[in-house]
Each structure stands twice: as structure tokens, then as C-alpha cells.
Amino acid sequence: MTLTAGVVAVQGDVEEHAAAIDRAARERGYEVTVHEIRESGIVPDCDLLAMPGGESTTISRLLHSEGIAPEIRAHVDTGKPLLATCAGLIVASSDANDDRVEELELVDVTVQRNAFGRQKDSFEAPLAIDGLAAPYPAVFIRAPVIDDVGDAEVLAAWDDRPVAVRDGPVVATSFHPELTPDSRVHGLAFFENDAAVVPELEDHQ
């Protein structure tokens, strides 16, 4: 059985997500083919999706101009899993507090861009995450803060501020789980989320 994964690839750290998806799948004995999505027409075939870190203004702009945005909404509407990290979280949120970003409204949270500060304030730290046994090495880069959580469930907080949430089939993080070799967050988002359905795995049950 081979899973079909997609990484939104209009801008950002795409290869890192592709490698993390591959590791998480292999650890569970699945083969996976990862597609880089820079145009419409590929998302509908994907069992699971990642939206990477990068610049949310650029990613938002290209997702809409390339016609990928409605496909991602449809993906989540059918209950297939999505992992959105940093800029991905901002784009997936219900409100980014910024006219320069057109939100996809896939996660019921409001966010503040760059709320942890500029690059000089970027940091790494071990982070306790619900569903993971040991702390996760989290890397925060000009990271957004989740400042209002609606229906979403908070999975992790840093300094009392939510930094990882789950809303149905979507897991979103302020930090970058794709930057370290530890693929547990990808595992959590794609294979250990009861609210998400991976079609290829369902078909083989």
C-alpha cells in the first residue's frame, strides 16, 4: 500500500516537510509518494497534506492565484488530515489579523503574526505536547501566536500561549516540526488523529 501525500510548495520549507512525512510513514510501515503542490489539480488525489513554513503573505497570495485554496478547503471538508506549520497556521486560521493574508478558515483560531518577535527573538526549546510521551524539540522562527481559540483543542502552550492546536482533521503549530529529524508531530497529525481519515488506510482495513 502506498499513501499519496502533498506538500503545498508555492513557497517555504517544502523538502523538509516531504522528508518528515516520509519518515513518519516509514516508521509505521507505510510507503508514501510525496507531491510538491505548486498548481491546482493535485490536491484532490492526496491522502494527507502539509502546509509549510515560509512567508504567509507570499503563500496566501500564490495559493489563491494558482487556484489551490479551494482544493485545500475541500480536502479538509472530507476529513482528510492537514498539518499546517507557522506560515501554514496563519494561512489556515480563521483570522490572521492582517489584510495581507486571505485566511482559509480551516482552524478555528485567531493568530498574531510574528508575535514572538523578529528573527533575533527566534528560539528553540523542548516543548510538552499532548499525545507525545517526551518533550518535542520545537523551533520557533518569527513565530505567530494563537491568541484566541474557538472550537480548536490546545495541544501545547509556551509561556502560557497556545502554540499547537487540533481542530478536527487539522493540526496546526506555531513552530516548525519539519526542521528537526523528530517526526512525532507529523505522526500525530496524520496517523494518530481520530478525527481525520486517510482514505488509502481506510480502503485497506
Binding site: 517544502v14 505548486r38 528573527q119 533575533k120 528553540e124 502560557d160 526542521l179
Partner: protein, 302 residues
Amino acid sequence: MSDSTDLEELRRGTDLVKRGFAQMQKGGVIMDVVDKEQARIAEDAGAVAVMALEAVPADIRKRGGVARMADPADVEEIVNEVSIPVMGKSRIGHTKEAQILEAVGVDMIDESEVLTPADDAYHIDKRDFTAPFVCGARNLGEALRRIEEGAAMIRTKGEAGTGDVNQAVHHQRTIKGAIRELEGKSHEEREAYAREIEAPAELVHETAEMGRLPVVNFAAGGIATPADAALMMHHECDGIFVGSGIFGAENPTAMGEAIVEAVNNWDDPERLADISKNLGKGMKGDANVDLSEEEQMQGRGV
């Protein structure tokens, strides 16, 4: 919800954090701007970051004299204007200009040959900084020496301000060619190669194993059109710096948007054709084959 975080364990300015910043720029276009109005146009056109400088390279060339860091007040204005990262240029070896840029809050420092070098023997010790650095390179040895000094991103050293992409292509081909050659070598041959190109052996091995530079590798210098940007992506660059090409063009907004879209569609000729239509006049430029060695910037800081 988990909240057992230990704030004591927070670490800033690590290699992971610096290189991670550069990784977030991938697939993006970083645009040179000289004031906040240009910065706004660049952000609206889809730039992933802006490079704040006093004059674009084409004007630095025309003006002559010593080219220095921009006025920190101007850099600060740009930092306050846009939500995307802001980079600033310091002279090669000018630790103080770099510290000033870091103090102003720039997100990345470009230790740049476009400005007049302050030190003809040493580059800045970039490991001392919390801010990440980008440096130019013409070949693998130069690239790995800069990474050893702490650079978190490498860019080609194409002739800035010429509008001629020739040298950026040449540098990128040289770096990629050297890496391909390296991949076929044995351990001891790689050690000898490291000595030959005057690069640290450890980084040579790491590059050979990864099959690419250990940090993000952008194209810079002479990129003036969407087709130029697509060409550099075709040559496996991770992203693009555009200097005089945007604001030296007749219609900066149209040119900026087109270059952003071209980077996303670099392997789709039909889309590139549409993207390249009706953009108005590009920057005039100077073919860099006509430049004497003294007029060239790329030989500065090797």
C-alpha cells in the same frame, strides 16, 4: 493541555534557528529596496523579504566612491513598514556595521561585496551574532569558508547592478558541478579536495553526503526578468535575490509580481510566457563582459 514548559531551556541564535530562518525563504524572491515606499510595493508584490540599502547596485556603480551600510534610521523605517523580514547589507569584514544592523532589528545581514570591503583579509566572525548572515560565493571553496564562519545562507555572487545574469549562472554551475564531482570521490579524495579548495574537511564531507550545500543557496546578481529568475531555479537555486531589476524597471509592481510568479512556475514554459508578457521596459543594464576586473564586484572577499 500541556503546560510543563521550561522557559530556562530556551536558546536563541543557534545554528538550527539561523539556518531555519533561511529555509523559510526558500522558493521566494527577496527584493532590494531603498525606502519604505519601495518596501511596501515589494511586500504587496509577494516578496518573502526585502533587502534594505541606500542605493540599488546599479546606482552604486554609477555613483562610484565608497559604498557603506545604509543610514540605520532608513533601515528602521523599512523594518517598521512591512511585516515580512528585512535584511540589511554590511561591508565585508565590517563587524560594527553588522552589529548596528542587528541592533536596529534586521532579520538577516548580508555581508556583501556590493559595498566597499572594509577588510581585505577577514570576513566577519558571524558565529558571534544572534542574527543570521547571508554571504556571496563564486565557487564551493568560497561557499564552505563562509559557512564555516557562520553564514546561514549562501548566494551566488553574480555581477550586481548589471542586469546580466551570466555570472550568477556561472557561479551556480561551478558550485553544483563541484558538488557532483565530490559525490563520486572516496573519503581520502574528499580530504585532499578540501585542502585544494581551502575549505574545512568536515563541511566538504557533509556537502558530499547531502549532495548540496548544507545551507540554503540563493541566486543573486544580474537577475532582471521573470525568465532570469526561472533560469536560476532551473539551475537548482533555492530562491532569488533581485536587486536593481525591480525598481530599475518601468513598472516595478508588474515586474515584482511577475518574478514572484515565475519562481513558482519555473518549470512551466506556457505559464512563463504569460507571466512575461507586457511588463514594460526592464532595467537597461550593462553586459558584464565589458567590465574590467576593477569594475567587477564579485572578486571582493574570497
